[in-house]
Amino acid sequence: MKKLSTLLSVAAAALLFSAFVSTESVHAQSAPASSAGDAVAGKTAFMHYGCYECHGTQGQGNFGAGPAIAPHPMPYANFLTYIRAPRGEMPPFDDHVLPAGDAQNIFAYLETIPAGQPPSHIAALNSIGYGTGAAPQSSAALSHGGEVYDAYCLKCHGSAPIGPSLGNEKSRKDLAATVEWIKNPAPPMPKLFPAPLSEQDVNDVAAYVQTL
């Protein structure tokens, strides 16, 4: 039992990796970009099918069980591909276990989940310090870059490593190379530009990665 949490972490994180790995094939199938589902019904389905167990009732993720899948859910095509045929420890949800309509509704629910307030606006979180770490970034661009990083990069490059750690990435790629890589990555890293990441998003997140 002790091992399960660790295994789940890797498995659930691998969910996202597989989704990214499958990006090209999904694009080739011209999967819809959005589910156009019913978010209210989706919340019910999210609970009924046990998604909340690993990913939290707001999709915020549970360390050691499943990564965050909201806010900012991955593209619907990736989402659908992955839940049908995950490669890691995430169990598969075939269409007769989780019908397509319910999957659409679940995705619609994930899309409605708002980002949390900035921690600085929540007293209990604002009071948590950074110990002997570096001072938090105050630059608006870096701050935005950090938000983009948390939303799109951390799932694979964070504590449940699917992609490589980006610590000291600047020793391997300078800012320009990082921007270029994000815009035109080699598989299995997913292509996130020009959507969902904009030019500004890419520039800011690249600058942020340079600080790691």
């Binding site: 046990g50 707001q58 276990v97 980002a115 949390g116 000291n168």
Partner: protein
Amino acid sequence: MGKKADKKSGVDRRSFLAGIATVGAAAVAAKPEAASAAANVPTKVMPPSVAVAAADTGSPLATTPTIDFPATDRLHVSHPGSDYMVDVVRNLPIDYIIATPGSTFRGIQESFINYGQNVHPEWITVHHEEISAAMAHGYAKVAGKPAAIIVHDDVGLQHASMAMYNAWCDRVGMLVLVGNILDASSRRPGVEWDHTAISPAEAVRGFIKYDDSPVSLDQFRESTTRGYSIMTTPPFGSCLITVDGDLAERPAEVGPLPISPYHPVRPPAADANAIEEIAKLLVAATNPVIVTSRLSRTPAGPSLLIKLAEMLQAPVIDTNDRVNMPTNHYLYQSFNRSLVGQADFVLGLEVSDLFGVLGDVVDTTIRHTITKTKPGVKVAEINSELLVGSGNYQDKQRFYPSDIPVGADAEVSMPALIDAVARNMTDARRNLNPQRAQRFKQMFTNTRMASLDAAAVGWNASPISPARLCAEVWNQIKTEDWAYVSQSTFLSNWPQRTWDFTKTYQGIGVSGGGGVGYQMPAAVGAALAHKGTGRVVVNIVGDGELLMLPGSLWTLAHHRIPLLTIVHNNRAWHQEHMHVQRMANRRDRDVSRSAIGTVITDPNVDFSYLAKAYGVYAEGPIENPDQLVPALQRAIKMVKSGHPALLDIVTQPR
């Protein structure tokens, strides 16, 4: 033992007692005048107990209230063997003995509470032997020394066994005394046969370190002292000693030898050549990474680890089995485990599962092994775990073939390692440190920022998110002298991600063996060790855990142990819920039915009623997150006044 008796024996009592009195530092005295009632003493004079010696030599301890020895006719027993047994236990640094009553040890129980005056050790009453063992487990991790438990043989030991197994897996020891009646001819028909075994330890021998079944008081003294020494020498493990009922209840007519002062065994330190070799590799490495689980045996652990890590600016991945690396230090990188993939040298310091950090076995339909390190990485470990013998139980985890395995206690080896690193340090290597420090400082801050962003999601949700629960608790206790006596696995590790653990007493790590039922009594045991310090001690316990041993709450109330218990009430054995669902998914079956047998609803358990029934202040169930802070403040006020309190919080899964 009375004065009159000793005068009769002609022993040079004053000089003999002077030596004995120094043995037991906290001995309790026998009232001298009362002892004179012992007219019918054994013909062979028993050496005086520590208590009697202290009384007769004028020790300050002699002022302690004492006992009256009965007349020694055929209806009475004077100087029972169990009094001597109590002196043996009292000669060891054991402050508490924890028990559910059992007739097989009635003799020694009476000696502890009357002859021993119920101090050092103090008798702690519990509802279940599993509580006894789990309390001793939690206690030892705060106190830094074992407690004793005493159980019936067979039934009581069987009850205690799972919690003893947890402690074994966590490398924590306790003195387990087992009531038994070895002489078949003296057993009453019925239950005394049912509660006796030829070899009591057989039931638990796979997860203890030492056992014996003494048939004399001399053997009891020697085996208990030897067992305590073995138990408290790394790697730690429990010691089981049988307390024979006849030996305890009969007069100690054959005099046992005096009790010698106890001297602890020095822990094994690493070989000097190995230390030098590891130090050179650490300095030569481009990306050294330190991994640890149970380095801290004493309060010195964190400062030693900080010193080594800062000399090398090496990140530390702490599996948090103890408080090893302060969680607010920038080199605490436990949530960036991918750093092991960049390492060219890994140093493991008392790692409980080195393979599990550097590799994994993935829970897929067809399981396979993965390696997280890059090719060519060198791995050294200083680990008392390497000295643990193998057995039936598979708690040693998967073998990792370290390049330099050193079987020794890491904490005691640290000063020599730090010196060796300092000797081998070069200017070129030292000059890299500022850049490395900046990198890890930034990484630490980024990790905390990401955690705070994640905690903000669903902040106002109901059921309450564990992230909010933990953040609100931290906000209430951070200005206090606090301690956290729970494991964080089922809380998404929020405490370690956002709280500042800086002292060893602030955390007790994990259960070890994963046996459910550990958390509540372990927290009670840890809180017992904190009692009297004024600390605000917090226990966040899952509902499934608490339902295993709710009687632990009564012990809190009965012994006035201040502890804030927060029930992380997700109304499920959530981990198992996920397991069953995974099976349904893989078999293409209805996943929604995985709740059958894994949720705790219909009816929902009201833990506030439960706690009140045991005499503990309680509130709940609390489902509205806005009610959380006021409830916490009321409960903490109760705890600071010296009482236990419980809050039932309805939460998200983990």
